[in-house]
Symmetry: C2
Subunit: 327 residues, 2 copies
DNA sequence: CTGAAAGCGCTAACAT
DNA sequence: ATGTTAGCGCTTTCAG
């Protein structure tokens, strides 16, 4: 910057004004402005955003923290968050921490130490205390997808209970009466709500069997899912399952894979519903809950940026309604 | 930092030394050091990494630039790069630019402006000139997965030609003689090599049909793939295809989906091979090229960090050998 | 219309 | 064994 100033014969101040498009404000003559721009361009000058941020107090960078970036749902969310943030002039730093509290905390701190302006996080289990600490700090955070019902903070979520209730209702309407559910072994509300929706839907039908729920761990999802399905179908004389509801796309994928491998026909006698589209078995028409991931990403970014830019510590939470896809 | 210094009754320098674990070097008395640490902890002090980086000249941050983070291959690569970099004390910023040159350049600049120490990039078409500029700068970059044969720069790639050659050879050994290939319409070497491997394999068998190659665009992959497959099978009287080779996991997914939907049985009469595992049709045993994504990520990080830390502008390129999975 | 000067939070050579 | 000081590259107030 000094070098440009020298070449044009002005001070760094003037260069700064011009390069920041504040020529009006600085009342720089257009001829000087033009020369500065030209030299800057020729020298291929680029701001040192670090120095700039240190001075201005903001980085125009937000972080996105998810459990696993190689999961389809999160990867898609990341994609949309990034697109929308870029459009708003922000860079997004994606961090993938596993469903692992030990990695979560240091990562979040690392990000804050680097002075990101705010973050969107899909929280993992047992991190609630972290958030009460962060909230006290006043650091801008918005939760996406998963949330803590007791914490007053910005969040963008979907109506998990409603979606679950509706999709299970579909199964019931189509005649299923002995529906089992597979979900993740997770205390977080989004899972709890999905479970409640399922239970509630069953209650509408007195002739439906009691809820049968299997909880799968995050660590060995594929294997556990397989074994669960296997057991379920080897016990068909005690519980003659005729419907299966998967709480996530990942579980559905592994589950359907197993069904196909076991040669269990999916059809009127054995129906399936799940969250998220599964491209797994294209010729199977499986009704599913379509989560509006793009809107979720956009809403989260918008909420966070308005929080950052306007400094409004609003409590608003945005609840999106997923579509039920009947196919 | 000043606040801690005041409370303990020392200068900022002393605090800095202690908090950076350089008490030996600064010859700080252990009692003072202890007090400083205690106060820092109590006050919940955290470094401003921005200021630190401005001073030290490095950020301990690297960038990973990929075309589409919602693609399974890239998401997995991102995951491993992140894990390994974190382990080495680096933060990784993931940027997803689409197969879009217009988004590529500004994103890369944005990242460099933020002073990342280096970057790993999976280049996209028509960006070669960008790289010659960047190389001149001396900025540490390593290419992963895709590359430019004419550019002397660090890269971590796989033997695409060999993998392609071998997997197509499998198809031939199993009796296929009229094998078509689907690949992306991309000038980059990795695609060209995959194509060459296919052609070369066919040449070994004089009784095999000439190469039949379909190029699919990145924009409407799913739709184009569908139509291609449809056409291919509606023309079976002129070319009675008995084998299909997909150059990527994504193409394979869409292609197999279409085959299933069309009710075309996959078996001895119609065999398939592809790059990357497809979880799509679990009961189909499809031989595929298993790319060592984790090693690729690790190797790229290691190469980049040694370049950054040792400043060695080596030309070394690392060529990984994928496994051929026969199932 | 333009420049001097202060300072963002930190590090490190050099004093003491 | 600890403190002084001079920046890192930039923005912005205030004084010409």
């Amino acid at each position: 910057m000094q070098s440009i100033a020298d070449q044009v014969g002005v001070s760094r101040t003037t260069v700064s004004f011009v390069l920041n498009g504040k020529e009006k404000e600085g009342r720089i003559s257009s001829v000087v402005a033009a020369r500065i721009k030209e030299v800057a361009h020729r020298e291929n000058y680029r701001f040192n955003e670090l120095a700039r941020s240190l001075r201005t107090g903001h980085t125009r960078t937000i972080a996105l923290v998810v459990a696993d970036i190689s999961d389809r749902f999160f990867a898609t969310l990341a994609f949309h968050v990034q697109q929308h943030a870029l459009h708003k002039g922000y860079l997004v730093v994606i961090a993938s921490v596993g469903e692992d509290r030990a990695q979560f905390k240091p990562t979040v701190e690392m990000l804050i130490d680097r002075q990101v302006d705010g973050m969107i996080v899909v929280p993992i289990q047992h991190t609630e205390q972290e958030f009460v600490r962060l909230i006290e700090t006043g650091f801008p955070i918005v939760l996406a997808d998963r949330y803590f019902p007791d914490l007053k903070m910005n969040r963008v979520i979907i109506d998990n209970f409603g979606a679950s209730f509706q999709i299970v209702s579909r199964l019931l309407e189509k005649g299923c009466r002995r529906i089992a559910m597979l979900l993740y072994d997770d205390q977080l509300m989004h899972m709890q709500e999905r479970q409640k929706g399922y239970v509630k839907a069953l209650e509408k039908y007195p002739d439906a069997a009691q809820p049968v729920i299997y909880k799968i761990g995050y660590a060995n999802t594929q294997q556990e899912t397989r074994e669960t399905i296997r057991k379920l179908f080897s016990n068909r004389d005690t519980f003659d399952v005729d419907g299966l509801f998967f709480a996530t796309g990942g579980l559905a994928m592994y589950g359907i894979e197993t069904l196909i491998q076991l040669g269990i026909p999916i059809g009127p006698q054995m129906q399936i519903a799940c969250f998220d589209r599964t491209d797994f078995a294209p010729n199977l028409k499986i009704p599913y809950v379509h989560q509006p991931i793009q809107e979720m990403g956009k809403a989260a970014v918008d909420m966070l940026l308005s929080r950052i830019e306007k400094g409004e510590p609003t409590n608003e939470s945005c609840i999106l309604t997923p579509h039920i896809i009947n196919r």
